[in-house]
């Protein structure tokens, strides 16, 4: 069951990602990315990362992607003409790269110790533990990242506001 679900969601994530790559209109690409994120959220659930799955859906697929869609609509971005480079990449690059990937993965698979083959899914819920970790071991990054968000706010306002 676990294996079947893994392959279902992994295949849908990769499918959406490839769709993102070959769609010509930015809106379709953005919607495909939401599909990828949804599939990944399911995988996070299967890995026992409920909190992250929820954050993924609410913050990432929800808020961030809405921002993307909003900007695409605002700029009224059009379809792009396929270039020679993208055609070549589609027919030649993708299969070659997947071959390379498979090779790397086999090498790593061989090197992984036998004990590493843990059965996933029986890792207990960790939301409370994440909270504790954020305010204890990861207190500094947690506080400092607020400055990052502040910079993003300032930047978005400074760059996107109209000239006075």
């Amino acid at each position: 069951m676990y294996q079947a679900l893994f392959f279902l969601f992994a295949a849908s994530a990769v499918g959406f990602a490839i769709n993102l790559l070959i769609q010509r209109h930015p809106i379709h690409s953005a919607l495909s990315l939401i599909g990828v994120m949804g599939s990944l959220a399911s995988l996070y659930l299967m890995l026992g990362a409920e909190f992250l799955a929820v954050v993924q859906v609410i913050v990432y697929a929800g808020a961030v992607m809405v921002l993307f869609v909003f900007v695409i609509m605002l700029l009224n971005a059009d379809k792009e003409e396929p270039s020679d480079r993208s055609k070549m990449a589609k027919y030649l690059g993708l299969p070659l790269l997947f071959l390379l990937l498979a090779m790397i993965t086999v090498v790593i698979y061989r090197q992984f110790p036998e004990d590493a083959m843990v059965q996933f899914g029986d890792f207990p819920g960790q939301t409370a533990a994440i909270g504790r970790l954020l305010f204890r071991d990861f207190l500094l990054p947690f506080e400092v990242i607020s400055i990052l968000i502040l910079i993003a706010i300032i930047g978005a306002i400074v760059l996107a506001k109209k000239e006075p």
């Binding site: 790559l21 993924q56 900007v71 971005a77």
Partner: protein, 102 residues
């Protein structure tokens, strides 16, 4: 069926990473390039969560939350820059952004 191992997740993450890299290198619409970069950030997160589950330690998941925050901040700034550029040049096509040459 063989059990699902971290290496399966690693493969999935590498596949998404590669697709994201191809997207950045071949697409011309800057918004799609930005979307491809977001895809790479997602690929990073799968790795972090899978390894975190394998090690039975939650620090990987916590790191993934930081990655999501950083990705959101980057998206906000990136879209701001794209809007600023669009005001100046009326284009989102990377090929037409060529005022400066080597």
């Amino acid at each position: 069926m063989p059990p699902v191992t971290p290496v399966h997740y690693l493969f999935l993450s590498m596949a998404l990473f590669t697709i994201g890299v191809i997207g950045v290198l071949t697409r011309r619409n800057v918004i799609i390039i930005l979307i491809s970069i977001e895809l790479i950030f997602n690929a990073v997160n799968i790795n972090l969560v899978a390894f975190s589950s394998q090690f039975a330690s939650i620090s990987g998941q916590t790191f993934a939350i930081f990655v999501i925050v950083a990705a959101a901040a980057e998206a906000a700034v990136g879209l701001g820059i794209i809007i600023a550029l669009f005001r100046n040049k009326e284009t989102v096509n990377a090929d037409e952004i060529d005022l400066m040459k080597w």
